[in-house]
């Protein structure tokens, strides 16, 4: 008598574990932007709200990633240094290097 009850219990737990859970939003991603040869790569980056953007300076000279609006800016990054920013609004955000204003790019944030 005990064996069927035990088997039934194991089956029940297995079924419960195998059920798909409630759908969860995709976990935030970390997206790199390379600063190399005096340019941001990619020139236009699209991320989802909540994603993290990581700028990495590969150039031997210093650069920044600075929002045109002035809302955020990295300090001057030496070679190998990185700057992390999590956009908190949906929209299109042009940015530039404050040291070399001809270096320009855009982050597009979608919901």
């Amino acid at each position: 008598m005990k064996l069927p009850v035990l088997a039934l219990g194991v089956w029940g737990v297995s079924v419960a574990l195998c059920q798909p859970g409630p759908s969860r939003p995709p976990s935030p991603k970390r997206t790199p932007v390379s600063i190399s040869r005096f340019a941001f790569d990619p020139l236009e980056l699209t991320v989802s709200l909540g994603d993290t953007v990581v700028w990495v300076n590969a150039d031997p000279l210093r650069h920044t990633a600075t929002a045109d609006s002035g809302a955020w800016s990295s300090p001057e990054l030496s070679q190998g240094q990185r700057f992390v920013h999590v956009p908190n609004r949906v929209g299109r955000f042009p940015y530039h290097c404050a040291a070399h204003p001809v270096m320009r790019a855009v982050v597009v944030v979608r919901d």
């Binding site: 005096f38 000279l61 070399h100 204003p101």
Partner: protein
């Protein structure tokens, strides 16, 4: 008769279509050294206008890696010497910021060259081009030393556009084709975009200075 007429019509149609679809002559190629932005402005007087001609780099002949190192160092030291005139003579903030950036970046490039020379156990060796560069920079520096305010801002920025055009031409036409060592070539390849960005930045500031004339 009808057959001949048809043939004639066909021949005429073909000739007309050839005429209609001939390629439209393209506008002249933009200069390798583009004119400063805002072309709609009246061009400033000749002495203060950066050259729109592709700069010539003379006196190069056969160029060794040691010569190239000397040319890069001479070019950098030239711009550093100009930038050191800026804080006490410039009027505009954007000119002052530009001068400070040139100082920072060209000192940075010099460090890279010095580090590479140490690694390669190579000594920079002057040639005609690097010596010419030094003479020319000394003359220009002396001329700018006596200026201040707008006169300095316009002379300095005009000179910066010309200087970076010439440096870029020298990298493309002399240094890169002549460099033998792979590390030196890699260094030149990493310096080139910096010089191009400086040129574009100089043209922007130059245009702003001249617009407020």
């Amino acid at each position: 008769m009808l057959y001949r007429r048809t043939l004639l019509c066909l021949a005429l149609s073909f000739a007309a279509s050839c005429q209609l679809f001939r390629p439209i002559p393209e506008s002249p190629e933009p200069s390798a050294s583009p004119a400063p932005a805002r072309a709609e402005r009246p061009a400033p007087s000749a002495p203060s206008t950066p050259s729109t001609q592709a700069p010539r780099v003379r006196g190069t002949g056969s160029v060794s890696d040691a010569n190239i190192a000397a040319m890069v160092l001479a070019s950098n030291n030239t711009d550093i010497s100009y930038a050191r005139l800026v804080p006490s003579r410039a009027q505009r903030d954007d000119v002052k910021e530009f001068g400070q950036r040139m100082l920072t970046d060209h000192v940075g490039v010099n460090s890279l060259v010095t580090e590479l020379l140490r690694k390669l156990d190579l000594a920079a060796e002057d040639n005609t081009a690097s010596l010419d560069m030094r003479d020319e920079s000394a003359n220009r520096r002396d001329a700018m030393r006596d200026l201040s305010g707008f006169a300095f801002d316009s002379a300095y920025m005009t000179n910066e556009v010309s200087y970076h055009q010439k440096f870029l031409a020298s990298i493309d036409n002399v240094m890169l084709p002549s460099a033998r060592n792979a590390d030196l070539r890699a260094l030149l390849m990493s310096v080139r975009p910096a010089v191009a960005a400086h040129l574009a930045h100089a043209e922007l500031v130059w245009a702003n200075v001249m617009a407020k004339k």
